[in-house]
């Protein structure tokens, strides 16, 4: 009913948006659009936190209540805490952001920046989307993805392992196998 300080913690569902160290105005604009914000609010999210990086488009802050609460910042030395407390993450297609999020087991929508030249990033996003570890969207279609998504259908991501490659390196150099 009325928002009390105690209730906030229980019903607080944060959507965290990150663009890493890049400038990705198209994503920030899309996320800050009435359509997407309304869609997120309808799905039960209460807060929208945007890490906007080097972008020039500044979102509009909002207290929330009868609509999504919106806040933003440019950079932080570590987004791990924000990822941890998020119920949904919308990220640019950088591999660092993607795997940091997946390894925390958070639902993820990856948005590919079509303004980048030589967009190899889409390869990774598409491959992981094919394997159903995340959703892939473009800024223009983000509202559709949010509306259609079924987070329960996402397959949990099992972290990779660097030991095979270290074994091969050791063997090549003539070190004994452990």
């Amino acid at each position: 009913m009325a928002d009390r300080a105690g209730d906030d913690d229980k019903t607080r569902r944060v959507v965290f948006v990150t663009v890493g160290t890049t400038s990705f105005d198209a994503l920030v604009k899309a996320v800050d659009s009435p359509t997407v914000k309304q869609e997120l609010f309808t799905e039960g999210y209460t807060h929208l936190l945007i890490q906007m990086g080097r972008g020039s488009y500044v979102p509009t802050k909002s207290e929330g209540g009868s609509s999504l609460a919106v806040d933003y910042f440019t950079f932080s030395s570590s987004i791990a805490d924000h990822l941890n407390s998020a119920s949904l993450v919308i990220s640019h297609a950088g591999s660092g952001s993607i795997f940091e999020t997946l390894r925390l087991g958070k639902p993820l929508i990856v948005t590919v920046n079509e303004d980048l030249m030589d967009n190899h990033q889409s390869e990774l996003a598409e491959e992981l989307a094919d394997q159903k570890h995340l959703y892939c969207a473009r800024p223009q279609t983000l509202h559709q993805t949010v509306a259609d998504m079924d987070l329960n259908s996402l397959v949990p991501y099992s972290p990779g392992d660097a030991t095979p490659v270290t074994k091969l390196i050791n063997r090549f150099l003539g070190f004994p196998d452990d």
Partner: protein, 233 residues
């Protein structure tokens, strides 16, 4: 013509200079072929001593992947360690320093922290035009030569991006000239699923890496000389 003597003398000199040049060029080519074809064979002798290791860090996701690899690497076999990052990359060396500090803390015993951290001029910034990149790559090469002469590592670990190309090129040159034989291990980024990066492609085509690792089976199919190792992240 009175220059008869002079003509035949300079004729001899120019002929022998020419032959010398041919011989030298042939020797160099043979040596290069040897390095390329014979180089990437695993060492037949057992390694007993630790190997000095140069780790080339790229920005962002690249550094995360490399640190992931370093965490499981046997530190007593790969020491002393030298870290190089691009001059414009602020975070990577810090993260590497953190990893090394954690190691010293964990060891408890007084294992001296011998790791060194250096910066190198970048061959090409993201989005930089390929034309100006030629000049900046040259500067990076000279800087790389300077650093490589100082370090002369036995092992080089890199995973792209462009920062590693001057280093690997110099290492290759050192091999050809017999100055120092560095084993070069290149791990293509996990972000590369269907195509190699430019760095990876250069190292693959020119056979400069002793082992080139890829993290997706699609790449192994496309580049048969690469080694598939599964995902690191």
């Amino acid at each position: 013509m009175e220059k008869g003597h002079g003509c035949s003398f300079s004729g001899i000199v120019s002929t022998s200079t020419f032959s010398c040049t041919i011989v030298v060029v042939t020797l160099i080519l043979v040596r290069i072929l040897y390095v390329i074809l014979w180089g990437p064979r695993p060492f037949s002798r057992r390694a007993t001593k630790p190997l000095s290791t140069l780790i080339v860090l790229g920005s962002g996701g690249h550094t995360a992947e490399m640190l992931n690899l370093l965490v499981v690497l046997q530190k007593d076999r790969f020491t002393p360690r030298f870290y190089i990052a691009a001059a414009t990359d602020n975070m990577s060396l810090q993260k590497a320093q953190l990893l090394e500090n954690n190691l010293t803390a964990k060891n408890g015993t007084r294992v001296p922290n011998t790791a060194q951290f250096m910066q190198i001029y970048r061959s090409r910034e993201v989005g930089q035009s390929y034309v100006t990149s030629i000049w900046t790559t040259l500067i990076a090469m000279i800087h790389a030569l300077w650093l490589m002469i100082k370090i002369r590592p036995q092992v080089i670990l890199c995973n792209g991006p462009g920062t590693c190309i001057p280093i690997c090129a110099i290492a290759f040159l050192f091999k050809v000239l017999g100055i120092r034989w560095s084993s070069i291990f290149y791990v293509e980024s996990i972000a590369r699923v269907r195509r190699l990066s430019l760095s990876g492609l250069l190292l693959y085509k020119f056979r400069m890496a002793d082992q080139l690792f890829v993290q997706w089976p699609q790449l192994q199919r496309k580049y048969p000389r690469a080694t598939y190792v599964g995902r690191l992240m």
